[in-house]
């Protein structure tokens, strides 16, 4: 394995390129017609055009990506996040082609990709799950499952994930309609209408544990990330450590994540997501079988380069870290800079970046693929940069975040930067006293005040 193809774009493609370069691995970029001028294409040693702008014609086209790896003689493919990263058929296609997939086995992806099956595996591994139950194809047992855990509940697609395919049901009368709509949506989006029901845990925090395993079957955790600041189930700010976790809970949750990963023979990097209620009880929700957008905050507090470890594991080498040696130090916070206008209900804002000034100085990291003169294209995700800060404690990290955000200047398009500047000064955020509904409540209040 001396050449790696990166089956992704934007900041994560550049992030992986950097790790490859530090390991003296040659790199192959793939790109759609919309990305001919993209930074990941410029920076890679080789680049292969794989199709039209629409993702299904390019970054989701398994055959084209495998062909590109064959043509260039790449021995491994790193999928980044999104696109083909959690597609077991892609991992299997790599295996068939004799190419190392930088991620877990196809069977581990499939096991965790079925969220209802993942709950069963979690229960068997003695990992607490959100109370709920499975829904048979005719939906006949749904009402009983919902009443058993009491309304409000969530109807979720077994094949969903990443916050997609979810409906809130507040009372029994809404259940049938929600089941029908969710099944239809799930069939259209994921090709699988299977549903399950979870109790809606209100005022819970979202806390997730980073794990990584090697072929020697050792799974190591790298502590947790708090990701409660979300809008429409999309994370906006992430930090490590979680400000709302006591040491005992942290230890139990980390151990539970390792048990779950070991139960499916997990190799490479993954994230076990939990909800934590007000009493500090935690419940498994899903496992993401890939590198996470917010992996950078874990890297900042542990000093471990997760992408480097991923590449080593894919090459059949052991992890360079052991559980005893992993230490978390200080506090790291990530602010997602999206091309969206927070003052216009987060309307996407693609377009040309007329001027760009990036922050720097102590404890500041920027993961991005934008440059002055680059045009943010409308075809993909709105994430254009991740501003990550580290400081010895949370108070200093928030101050550093405010300082770095105020240095960031992106002209020509709207971004979420002004919202982050409000958040770092918000009392509840400063106190670390937030749940997954906090940001939306804050935005709704701000809107009401603007109207009044």
């Amino acid at each position: 394995m001396d050449k790696v193809l990166i089956a992704n774009r934007s900041e994560i493609a550049v992030r992986v390129l950097r790790a490859c370069r530090e390991l003296d691995l040659a790199t192959v970029a793939v790109y759609s017609d919309a990305d001919a001028d993209a930074l990941h294409v410029r920076e890679a040693d080789e680049a292969v055009r794989i199709g039209k702008p629409q993702a299904q014609d390019s970054y989701l086209n398994i055959e084209r990506i495998i062909d590109a790896a064959r043509e260039t003689g790449a021995g491994a493919i790193h999928p980044g996040y999104g696109f083909v990263s959690e597609n077991p058929r892609f991992a299997a296609a790599c295996e068939e082609a004799g190419i190392a997939f930088v991620g877990p086995s196809a069977s581990a992806i499939a096991a965790m990709g079925d969220k209802a099956a993942a709950r069963r595996i979690a229960r068997e591994a003695d990992v607490p799950v959100v109370p709920g139950g499975e829904v048979s194809a005719n939906g006949g047992d749904a009402l009983r499952a919902a009443e058993e855990v009491s309304f409000p509940v969530l109807v979720k697609a077994a094949a969903g994930g990443g916050g997609r395919g979810i409906r809130v049901v507040r009372e029994a009368g809404e259940l049938d309609g929600a089941l029908a709509a969710a099944a239809r949506e799930a069939e259209a989006a994921f090709g699988d209408p299977t549903l399950y029901i979870e109790k809606l845990l209100e005022s819970a925090r979202h806390v997730e544990v980073q794990v990584i395993g090697d072929a020697g079957a050792d799974v190591v955790h790298l502590f947790e990330r708090e990701c409660s600041l979300q809008r429409r189930r999309q994370k906006l700010v992430e930090e490590s450590p979680s400000p709302g976790l006591d040491p005992a809970t942290r230890e139990q949750m980390s151990a539970a994540a390792v048990r779950l990963a070991e139960a499916v023979g997990y190799t490479n990097a993954g994230t076990v997501e939990f909800l934590v209620d007000r009493e500090g009880r935690f419940y498994f929700i899903e496992m993401n079988t890939r590198l996470q957008v917010e992996h950078g905050v874990t890297e900042m507090v542990t000093g471990v380069d997760l992408v480097r470890q991923q590449l080593r594991v894919a090459a059949g080498e052991p992890l360079e870290i052991s559980q005893d040696a992993v230490r978390a130090q200080g506090c790291s916070i990530e602010f997602r800079i999206n091309a969206e206008d927070p003052d216009q209900d987060f309307l996407p804002s693609p377009g040309r970046i007329e001027a760009l000034e990036l922050p720097g100085g102590p404890g500041v990291r920027i993961d991005t693929a934008i440059y002055a003169g680059y045009s943010v294209v409308p075809f993909y995700d709105s994430l254009i940069a991740k501003l990550i800060v580290w400081a010895p404690d949370r108070e200093q990290a928030l101050r550093r975040g405010r300082r770095a955000l105020s240095e960031l200047r992106i002209e020509g398009i709207a971004t979420t930067t002004p919202l982050h500047l409000r958040l770092v000064d918000d009392d509840r955020v400063r106190d670390g006293d937030v749940d997954t509904g906090y940001l939306e409540r804050l935005l709704a209040t701000a809107e009401e005040e603007a109207v009044a």
Partner: protein, 81 residues
């Protein structure tokens, strides 16, 4: 107030149908009300409604299904009802 235009609310890919296997929102010659959805723009994984700015008749679409549009671009001409 003849010769009004329905404009794209955001840049992206224009669609005339809610999903590939459904009928178009409206056909040329259809009467529409102010605020009625006549299409979608897909931008950065979001779907944004394209709405008629006032009552009228959709005279002609000025862009094809799946065409790329700019923010504010005219997507259809609206005649008085």
């Amino acid at each position: 107030m003849a010769d009004n235009k329905i404009k794209a609310p955001a840049p992206g890919t224009f669609y005339r149908r809610p999903s590939p296997d459904e009928d178009p929102y409206v056909e040329e010659g259809d009467r529409v009300e102010s605020g009625q959805v006549v299409g979608l723009v897909e931008v950065m994984k979001n779907f944004i409604d394209v709405k008629a700015p006032q009552d009228g008749v959709v005279e002609t679409f000025l862009v094809a299904n799946e065409d790329l549009v700019e923010a504010g671009q005219d997507v259809a001409a609206l005649a008085d009802a």
